[in-house]
């Protein structure tokens, strides 16, 4: 028995040691007590690392200045396009444990939360901060339901961009600065890359990245008006033009890496797009949104390591998405949250945020001075371009539509069955195309 007692004592001692050391480091991290709780503003995003985190940090520093009576609690959850974060958020909301603010894409994704009665009407906050005149009307429409505003947009991102590794393209004697005019031209270029010995000319990753590639193929092949019609019922998903676009998508996927289902966009980028040794580089292109420059910056690679142009066939179209922040029902600190929302909507906050995140400010009065090269170009484009929404990023439709399409694409990645994919897309559209009318 004494041997048992000694052993138990050893374990207890070790436990106590760990507990004490962990406890002391937790004091600095975890705000405790009810007094502190009212001062906390818990903000939930999926910007836990890289360029996106840098942007959030920029916004936080403005918050610390303007809302110094509150303490910012960063509840970011890592993972891709926010899949894991959204599930965690849904669980939390169901259990009545709402954060003080959470990130939601303006448009279809936000409408889910509005329809479920999970976010407050912040029209008053909006007007009080003078934000009702600060945003372009198209964007305001995406966050307003029945005259009430439900979130504050922080940025605008563009989804239909292709990022290019100039060294690899030069190896195949292609001009990296010249965008292919159509999807078919791009396919021809991909073939040239393959012939020149590049193993997987197109870097692709799982989930929303495949959806983005499909969407930009549809956008390039159908044109902006027909594309927009896909999301409000005007264009039929079973049309021959859609079939042709899906076949183009199939060809594009055939030029991509076989392990696409195992990695996220940033891993695919680091593995296939960025390596600079033309002898061993296995990728030349990646279709991804314009959060890429911030990511490359956070990896401390130079601007010269990549070039970019709008996805083939989509020049002049801005496929937009907008991260916005909400005031959830049941938030513990609504006043603190309102202060946060003001920061999010302010010119200063948006500049601090977008400068580092690679997106452009949502405010229409933002000027481009001080921004890096890509964003200056993007802001020009935003003023003049035609707009198209993105399903992958919540602006074109609700989360359920997004999920169904991603599931269908994951299956397609394995079996390349075009008719089945098209049938799934038609079914999804039939189910969700009238989403605007379900919001109330």
């Amino acid at each position: 028995m004494t041997r048992v007692r000694t052993k138990v004592a050893v374990v207890l001692a070790a436990t106590a040691l760990v507990a004490v050391s962990a406890c002391s480091s937790s004091d600095t991290n975890k705000p405790s007590g009810t007094g502190a709780a009212v001062k906390n503003v818990e903000v939930f995003t999926w910007w836990a690392a890289g360029g996106e985190k840098a942007g959030l940090d920029g916004m936080i520093s403005v918050f610390k200045k303007d809302c110094s009576q509150y303490t910012f609690v960063n509840a970011a959850v890592a993972g891709g396009g926010g899949d894991k974060a959204k599930t965690l958020l849904a669980n939390n909301l169901k259990a009545g444990n709402a954060p003080d603010s959470f990130q939601a894409h303006a448009g279809g994704e936000l409408s889910d939360y509005i329809a479920n009665g999970q976010v407050e009407d912040i029209t008053a906050v909006f007007k009080a901060a003078g934000l009702d005149t600060a945003f372009p009307k198209d964007l305001l429409d995406q966050i307003t339901v029945a005259g009430k505003v439900y979130s504050v947009p922080a940025d605008i991102h563009r989804a239909n961009m292709v990022w290019v590794n100039p060294l690899v393209l030069k190896k195949a004697k292609l001009d990296p600065a010249k965008a292919p005019a159509t999807v078919k031209d791009w396919i021809a270029d991909l073939a040239k890359l393959k012939a020149a010995g590049v193993a997987t000319p197109l870097a692709l990753s799982k989930g929303f990245a495949e959806e983005m590639l499909l969407e930009s193929t549809l956008l390039g092949d159908l044109g902006v008006d027909k594309f927009n019609g896909l999301y409000d019922g005007k264009t039929k998903w079973d049309g021959a033009d859609v079939t042709a676009a899906i076949n183009d998508y199939k060809t594009l996927v055939s030029y991509s890496n076989t392990d696409r289902e195992t990695m996220d966009w940033d891993a695919a980028m680091s593995k296939y797009l960025l390596p600079t040794d033309p002898k061993t580089a296995t990728g030349g292109y990646q279709l991804m949104g314009d959060w890429v420059p911030a990511q490359i910056l956070s990896l401390k690679m130079p601007e010269s390591s990549y070039m970019y142009w709008p996805a083939p066939g989509t020049d002049g179209v801005y496929q937009w998405l907008s991260d916005s922040f909400t005031l959830p029902k049941g938030a513990k600190n609504p006043e603190g949250d309102k202060c946060w929302l003001k920061v999010v909507g302010s010119a200063e906050g948006q500049k601090a945020f977008n400068l580092v995140k690679g997106s452009i400010p949502a405010r229409s009065d933002a000027t481009s001075e001080g921004y890096p090269k890509y964003q200056q170009w993007a802001m020009e484009q935003w003023k003049a371009a035609k707009l198209a929404p993105s399903l992958a990023h919540g602006s074109a439709g609700p989360g359920a539509w997004n999920n169904d399409v991603q599931t269908a694409l994951s299956a397609f990645s394995a079996n390349s069955d075009v008719p089945t994919l098209q049938k799934s897309l038609v079914a999804a559209a039939g189910k969700y195309a009238n989403w605007r009318s379900t919001v109330g």
């Binding site: 028995m1 048992v4 052993k7 138990v8 050893v10 374990v11 070790a14 436990t15 760990v18 507990a19 050391s21 962990a22 406890c23 480091s25 937790s26 991290n29 975890k30 818990e42 836990a48 690392a49 890289g50 609690v73 509840a75 959850v77 890592a78 993972g79 894991k84 965690l88 669980n91 939390n92 169901k94 259990a95 009545g96 444990n97 996220d264 940033d266 891993a267 680091s270």
Partner: protein, 294 residues
């Protein structure tokens, strides 16, 4: 069931005088080779964890992922520690009280169901045992709705409550088996003749004998609760939940920073591994309770 679980090989087997034919020599060598081979195979993940955790971030992405680190780097460890250490304390706050409370309840239940029975005791036991086998997803959605109604805070309080409740069946099973094999009915009878009631019998007769049982249930419960991911991920979040969620966050991020993630995995595993190494034979006792009836 005793707590000393895997008996040693019978001496007659160990020292059997087998003719030392070349064939049996080969058989012996093959046996040892196989055992050592499997030993190495089972240790592969441990090797990867330890070796990679001491590499620098750059080196971990280098060409030979299996090589030993060129120099000891603590980048991964310090990053993992700063991410996970607040949660370590919270996890202790869940695991230890849950183990203690479930064990107490298990001891009381085990005693009554084996040595102070009531009509229908077996039925009650079987119904309780079923609770150990259910997939907990079956109660997860109602828990999401019900727990907020109790007023228990999210994170430690809610997790402590559910782990106590769902730990009752296994602790009851362990103690019931234990008392059945170590407490003779005569002891109880003798106590009863002396006029002792249930509580007195339990307190003065049974508890002193129960330490081995407690060691088994506490270890088993501590390990189960510490390693739990399902309840943690549904009912809490990174800033109020156990350390496993911090690890999930590290592992779920971008280009996985392997040294940090693996150091984190080691940090998460260390307590239960320590318990296993130091108190291993009682750990096995918990395992056996689930299956063998002796």
């Amino acid at each position: 069931m005793t707590t000393d679980v895997i008996p040693a090989a019978a001496p007659s087997e160990l020292h059997r005088k087998v003719k030392k034919t070349p064939r049996s020599q080969v058989a012996r060598t093959v046996k040892y080779l196989l055992l050592i081979f499997f030993l190495l195979v089972v240790l592969i993940p441990a090797y990867v964890l330890v070796v990679t955790s001491f590499k620098s971030f750059g080196e971990a992405l280098g060409p030979n992922r299996w090589a030993l680190p060129s120099g000891l780097s603590f980048e991964g460890w310090s990053a993992a520690w700063s991410e996970l250490s607040p949660a370590l304390f919270r996890t202790m706050l869940i695991a230890i009280p849950a183990a203690v409370i479930s064990s107490m309840l298990g001891a009381m239940n085990g005693f009554v169901l084996s040595r102070w029975r009531f009509p229908g005791a077996n039925v009650v036991f079987t119904l309780m045992l079923f609770g150990m086998f259910i997939p907990y997803q079956a109660v997860m959605v109602p828990l999401l709705e019900f727990l907020p109604m109790t007023g228990l805070g999210r994170g430690v309080p809610q997790l402590l409550a559910v782990h106590v409740v769902y730990g009752i069946p296994i602790c009851t099973l362990i103690f019931r088996n234990y008392y059945q094999t170590t407490v003779p009915m005569e002891l109880i009878e003798a106590g009863r003749v002396d006029g002792a009631g249930l509580l007195r019998t339990f307190r003065s007769l049974i508890l002193p004998l129960s330490l081995p049982g407690f060691v088994v249930t506490m270890i088993w419960q501590f390990t189960s609760v510490w390693n739990d991911y399902l309840f943690a991920v549904f009912l809490s979040s990174r800033d109020n939940g156990p350390v496993i969620l911090g690890l999930a966050n590290l592992a779920g991020s971008q280009i996985v920073p392997y040294p940090e993630v693996f150091a984190g995995a080691l940090i998460v595993t260390a307590p239960t591994l320590l318990v296993y190494i130091v108190l291993g034979r009682w750990f096995v006792g918990g395992l056996m309770a689930g299956a063998v009836k002796s």
